[in-house]
Amino acid sequence: MAKAKAKRIFTYVFLSIVAFVSIFPFFWMLVSSTNASVDVTKGRLLPGSVFLDNFNKLLDSTNLVQALGNSAIVSVISTILALLIGSLAGYGFEVYRTKSRDIVFNILLLSMMIPFAALMVPLYRMFATISGFAPFIGINTMAAVILPTITTAFLIFFFRQNTKMFPKEMLEAGRIDGLSEIGIFLKIYMPTMKTTYAAAAIITFMSSWNNYLWPLVVLQTPDQQTIPLLISNLGSSYSPDYGVIMTAIVIATLPTAIVFFIMQKHFVAGMVGSVK
C-alpha cells in the first residue's frame, strides 16, 4: 500500500515538473509581451502594462499587418488546394482501386522520404526560370510559396486511410440517383467526411502558417515576408527590444493556438489517424 502511494506521489511530482517545463516558455512569452525590454532582461515574471506600447512599436518598426496578411493568404490558399488535391487522390486511390494505381500510390509515398533540403536548390532554380516568362508565379511571389506545398503524400495517405471507413453503399445510391462520379464526390463524399477534412485542415494550416525555410529562400523583399520571416528578422537584430519581440511572437502564435484549443479533438484524431 505504501509503495502504491509513493508511486502516486512520484507520478504527480514528475508530471507537474514536465507540465511546468512545457508551459513556462509560454507563460514567460506572454508576460514579457506586457513588459518593457529592461524588465524582461531583469527576469520580471509579473504582467506589466506596456503591451500596447510594445504593439505600437511593433507596428511602427515592421510590416506586421502586411506579414500577417501574407501569412493568412498563403495558409488559407495552401490549405484549400492541398485538401482538394489530397482528398481527390485519396478517394480516387481507394474507390477506384486497381493494381497499377496501387503501384503509383506506393511511388507517391516515397516522396515522404525526400528531405526538403534536397529539393530547395532545384525548386529555387525552377522558380527563377519561371520568373523569366511568368513573373507572377516566379521568385518573390505568394504563388511560389504556395505551389510546392499543395501536394503532399501525407494528405493523400491520410484521406485514403479515412476513405476506408466511408460507406460504399452510398456510392451505389448516388449512381442509382444518376449522379456523375465527380458529383458523388462533391455531394456525398465531401459532406460525409467533414471531420476528416477538419483534421486535415488544421494540420495543413498549422504547417503552412509556420513554414520557414522555403519562404526564406523564395521571398526576398520585406513587403512579401510572412510572419515566421518577420520574427526571425526581429530575433536576429543587434539591439533587440525583448518586449516588442515577445509581442510579435504572441501575435504569431495566437492563430495556431486558438485553432488548436477549439479543435483539439480533431487535431489529435488527425495526427493519430495518419498512422493507423
Binding site: 514528475f14 514536465v18 502558417w209 520557414y212 515566421p228 520574427i231 489529435v268 493519430v272
Partner: protein
C-alpha cells in the same frame, strides 16, 4: 458483356482522373527536382554559371571539414535526441494512461502545448531564455546549482546542449500523443493477467507495453530521425550555426552554400544527396531492427 467492359474502362479512366492532380504535383515538386539535384551534383560554378565537372563535388565532400562538422553535429543531435524523446514520451504516456489519475487532461494538454508553436517562434524564445543573463541562468544561480552563468549560446559545448533541450521541449509531446492513443487500444485484461502472474510494473512495461507499441515506436523513431536529419529552423534562429561551426547542421550548411556564401548550387546539391542517403540507410536499419525483434 460488352457494356461491362466499357464500364470498367470508364471507371478506370475516372480513377486516373481523380489522382491526376496529385501525381502531377508530386512529380513536378518532388521527383523532378530530385532528378535535377542529381544532375546538379555533377556540376560546379557560381550562381547560374554551372558547368559539368564530373565527380569533383563528391571528391570535395570527402575533404570538406565544414561538411564533416555538420554531419557529426547532426548525428550528435540524432543520437541523443531521438532516444531521449522516445523514452521520455513513452514514460509520460504510460503515467498518463492511468484512468484513476486526476488532472489527466490538464497534464496531457500542457505537455502537448509546445507542438502548436512555430519552430521559429519557440527558437527565438529559447534563445533569450538561454542567453547568459537569461531566465535559465538566473533560475539555476538562485538555486545555487551554478555559481556563474553558463554560456549556453556562445560556448561550443553548451550551444549543442541548448539545441538538444529546445528540440526535446518541442517534440516530446508530439510523440507522446501517438503512444497515448495506442496505449488506449491495449486491452487492460492483459495487464490484469500479468499482475496475477506476479509481474511488476517494470516487467509489464518491457514485456507488454513496449512489444505492443512497437509499430508506433518504429513510426515515431523514423519520423523523428528524418526530422532531426533535416534540422534547420532551430539552428538558424538560436545559434546561426555558431559559435564557429559548433552547431552547424547539414541543412544549414546547404542553405549557406546556396544562399549565403557565393552560391554554389552544384556542390549544395551534392551535400543534399548525403541527407537523402542517410535517411534511406537509417530507415532501413530501423525497419531491420524492429523486424528482427518481432521474431
Amino acid at each position: 458483356m460488352n457494356t461491362g467492359d466499357s464500364l470498367q474502362k470508364k471507371n478506370n479512366l475516372t480513377g486516373w482522373a481523380f489522382i491526376s492532380l496529385a501525381v502531377i504535383g508530386i512529380v513536378a515538386f518532388y521527383f523532378y527536382p530530385m532528378l535535377q539535384a542529381l544532375l546538379l551534383s555533377f556540376k560546379s560554378g557560381v550562381g547560374a554559371n554551372l558547368e559539368f565537372t564530373g565527380l569533383d563535388n563528391y571528391k570535395r565532400l570527402f575533404i570538406d571539414t565544414t561538411f564533416r562538422t555538420a554531419v557529426s553535429n547532426t548525428f550528435l543531435y540524432l543520437i541523443i535526441q531521438v532516444p531521449v524523446m522516445i523514452i521520455l514520451g513513452l514514460f509520460i504516456s504510460v503515467l498518463l494512461n492511468d484512468s484513476t489519475l486526476r488532472f489527466r487532461s490538464f497534464f496531457r494538454t500542457a505537455i502537448f502545448l509546445p507542438c502548436v508553436t512555430s519552430l521559429v517562434a519557440y527558437s527565438v524564445v529559447f534563445k533569450y531564455l538561454f542567453s547568459s543573463d537569461g531566465m535559465v541562468n538566473q533560475f539555476l544561480m538562485n538555486l545555487h546549482v551554478i555559481a556563474e552563468p553558463i554560456q549556453w549560446i556562445t560556448d561550443p559545448f553548451w550551444a549543442k546542449i541548448t539545441i538538444i533541450i529546445a528540440v526535446t521541449w518541442r517534440w516530446t509531446g508530439y510523440n507522446m500523443i501517438f503512444y497515448l492513443s495506442s496505449l488506449q487500444n491495449i486491452d487492460q485484461s492483459i495487464y490484469e493477467a500479468a499482475r496475477i502472474d506476479g509481474a511488476n510494473a517494470f516487467t509489464q512495461f518491457f514485456k507488454i507495453t513496449v512489444p505492443l507499441l512497437k509499430p508506433i515506436i518504429l513510426f515515431t523513431s523514423i519520423t523523428s530521425t528524418i526530422g532531426t536529419l533535416q534540422i534547420f529552423d532551430e539552428i538558424m534562429n538560436i545559434t546561426k550555426g555558431g559559435p564557429g561551426n559548433a552547431t552547424m547542421s547539414i541543412s544549414q550548411y546547404i542553405y549557406n552554400l546556396s544562399f549565403k556564401y557565393s552560391p554554389d548550387f552544384g556542390y549544395a546539391a551534392t551535400v543534399s544527396y548525403s541527407i537523402v542517403l542517410m535517411i534511406i540507410v537509417l530507415s532501413i536499419i530501423q525497419f531491420k531492427v524492429a523486424g528482427e525483434r518481432n521474431g
